[in-house]
Amino acid sequence: MNFEPDYVDTQFREEVRAFLKAKLPAEMAARGRSGFLTGRDDALAWQKILAEKGWSVPHWPAEFGGPSWTARQRYIFDEECYLAGAPVTNIGGVGLVGPVIFTFGTAEQKARFLPGIRNGDTFWVQGFSEPGAGSDLASLRTSAVRDGDHYVVNGQKIWTSFGIFGDWNFLLVRTDPDAKKQAGISFLLLDIKSPGVTVRPLDSLEGSHHLAEVFYDNVRVPVENLVGEENKGWSYTKFLLFNERAFYGAEAPALKRYLQKIKHIASIERAGSEPLIKRPTFAARLAEMEIEVAAIDMTVSRVIAHGLDPRNGGDAVGSILKARGTELAQRLTDMLVEIVGDYGAYHYPDTNEEPDLRNDPFTGPDYAPGLMAELVYRRAASIYGGANEVQRNIVAKTLFGF
């Protein structure tokens, strides 16, 4: 262990910053910095820009177009992108199904799907949770029955993030109804435009529709869209969920952007003539969170630098980071809504769904719209990806064998 400055990392960080300065469109960055979730258009447009530079799939192997960065470099890249307000790229494609395809897929699947993800042509959405299978994912019921060279899919998925933006859907289906829970599940790739697919957006509390239900009514999926072996889908899912938790669990870059944003807004917003940041009680609360964000960020760095080891939480660290990161994100977004004062209570429409509104000025300061959407989205963060109660079960079981 030592903390001598690392000039290679510093240089890389500067390279990323220079790229962002040159290539990230200002309006896109402004939308990214607002709390509105990234829409399909920004996600794919930014993915294209990154692809031109060869940076669009940071953790993919070089043979599939990855830049061969170290884990530390990927982390620096993520952080700089976030802080600059770059759109979130299509996690479903780049982060989740992409690695599953290049690890478990056929040569044909790799050739067919990976370029579209890498180059920002296709938007992928996940189909895992069902109304009766949330944190207890393995109890899912959506079925796929073999019929010639097709599977016929029937059932329903829910909590499909960005469902209304999706071109393709990767989903878990039950192919063996008699097998025990985890056995008998397969992993399919499904074109959302297939007949029989209905995407119904859910009304989210703050008025946006980034979550959806997806209904499958005798949807025919060609057999070549099965990933890996039939009934082995659960093992690919575990691989994917591990990636999800390890790479996205704590969302440390997002936490840092919240801090940055709070400081910015609290320097502007006033109570009478006093900027909020000068209030000792407010500043102390912010300071506590900043210290905690640094500790989370250091924990992520420890995992990146040397994987799982008992001194950093061992196999439980993914759950630890997911639980604590999301809870901190909730406190930070609470504060963001709090500091905009009266405008923190206003409803603002979602410009990702209604891009026509982008040019209309909303009432209130330019940073107010989107904060409430962010807060509501973060309320879901302690629920999705395995509720935090489940994460704590995992920690207790993993570390103590309870």
């Binding site: 949330g134 944190s135 709090e338 004062g341 209570a345 206003y346 409803h347 629920i383």
Partner: protein
């Protein structure tokens, strides 16, 4: 002092609960939200007809006697039923202000119209820098030949989209004294920006651009005006806290059966000890929140203005904090469904977020209490 509800109070509570649960079904609310209706005049009139707008107003001012206690009972029941109509902010609050101006003719007429539910009133006192302090404003009133011209922006004006008349504060352009005016809602120079609040209730900006009012529409000025407004805001803050109590209770009552019915891993969610304890803590917060409202009611009856405002601020800081926590846990226990509009639990949480924003947020309210508390200590 008597801490139990009197028979009359029990009747009021029961009739409020009955009316609210019949009137404000969740399905009806969803359909109003979908068509963007923040305020329904017929419903407003029904609330008035029940006598609820005059209930906390002294008889000599045209009200029905009783006190803020009765307002809190009604507000609690309405909040539990997720009423969209802003009872606290558009009935209780302006009635308090109007009743405190017995010498002003137009105020008396207005109060009668308010109590009868014939006209809708809004208070436009807050600005971005106010944070709950009615003295921290920048809106200006300039003397004209026959009255005043008001210019400035008021934020978070509940009822601002529908109000027939608006109570507006402004600083005298010359003396910087604070004036309180009663302005016609359709007066020339008033524009509206914004749409509604995140809990789908009424609230937006009112922008005043040289709005003309007569001298007769000036209700009060200077320290008198501030004292009237502060007293009314204190009353309204306590009633808002009672809304929070209703919302916490509502969140508990929809969540407990939900986790009993819902199964995961083959067992009822309510069999998990962690969720049992979560609900136990929510129940504890409910009991303490109701007690905190009673502490504030005690202060309204017994304390001098400075202490009264401090204790009300303390109550609001506390009730908002625990209320946001308790209702957010209602969402958590509902899982993904909790963050959708299809289940009612999230509406309680959003109501708490709005209650926090109205009349000054947590950090500032706690600051007000803290300042008063430390000022009470003998110098060491």
């Amino acid at each position: 002092m008597e801490l139990q509800l009197s028979d009359e109070q029990k009747l009021i509570l029961e009739s409020a609960e009955r009316f609210a649960s019949e009137k404000y079904t969740f399905a009806d609310r969803r359909s109003r939200v979908t068509r963007g209706e923040t305020f329904n005049r017929d419903t407003w009139r029904q609330l008035a007809d029940l006598g609820w707008f005059g209930i906390g107003v002294p008889e000599e001012a045209g009200g029905f006697g009783a006190s803020t206690i009765e307002n809190t009972l009604i507000a609690e029941a309405l909040a539990k039923a997720q009423a969209l109509e802003p009872y606290t902010m558009c009935a209780v609050l302006p009635a308090r202000i109007l009743a405190a101006c017995p010498e002003v003719e137009c105020a008396q007429a207005a109060l009668a119209a308010l109590i009868a539910g014939e006209q809708v009133f809004a208070l436009a006192y807050s600005e971005t820098i106010s944070r709950g302090d009615p003295a921290a404003i920048t809106t200006r009133a300039s003397k004209t030949a026959d009255g005043w011209a008001i210019s400035g922006r008021k934020t978070l004006v509940v009822g601002g989209d529908v109000a027939d008349q608006v109570l507006v504060t402004a600083l005298d352009a010359e003396t910087s004294a604070l004036h309180l005016f009663l302005v016609d809602g359709s007066a020339k120079g008033i524009s509206r920006e914004g749409d509604k609040l995140v809990d789908w209730t009424s609230g937006l900006d009112l922008v005043f651009d040289g709005v003309q009012v007569t001298e007769g529409e000036r209700l009060a000025s200077g320290d008198d005006a501030l004292a009237i407004i502060r007293a009314a805001l204190d009353d309204a803050a306590v009633v808002l806290c009672a809304e929070a109590v209703g919302a916490i209770e509502g969140a508990i009552e929809v969540t407990a059966p939900y986790i009993k019915e819902r199964h995961q891993y083959g067992v009822s969610l309510s069999s998990f000890q962690v969720l049992q304890h979560r609900m136990a803590d929510m129940a504890m917060e409910l009991v303490l929140a109701r007690s905190a409202v009673m502490c504030a009611l005690h202060a309204l009856s017994n304390a001098e203005p400075v202490e009264r405002s401090a204790r009300v601020a303390g109550c609001k800081a506390y009730v908002t904090r625990i209320g946001k926590w308790a209702t957010s846990q209602g969402i958590q226990l509902h899982g993904g469904y909790g963050i959708t509009e299809e289940y009612s639990v999230g509406q309680y949480y959003k109501r708490l977020l709005v209650i926090d924003a109205l009349l000054g947020r947590q950090d500032f309210q706690l600051g007000r209490y803290t300042e008063w508390m430390t000022a009470q200590l003998p110098a060491a």
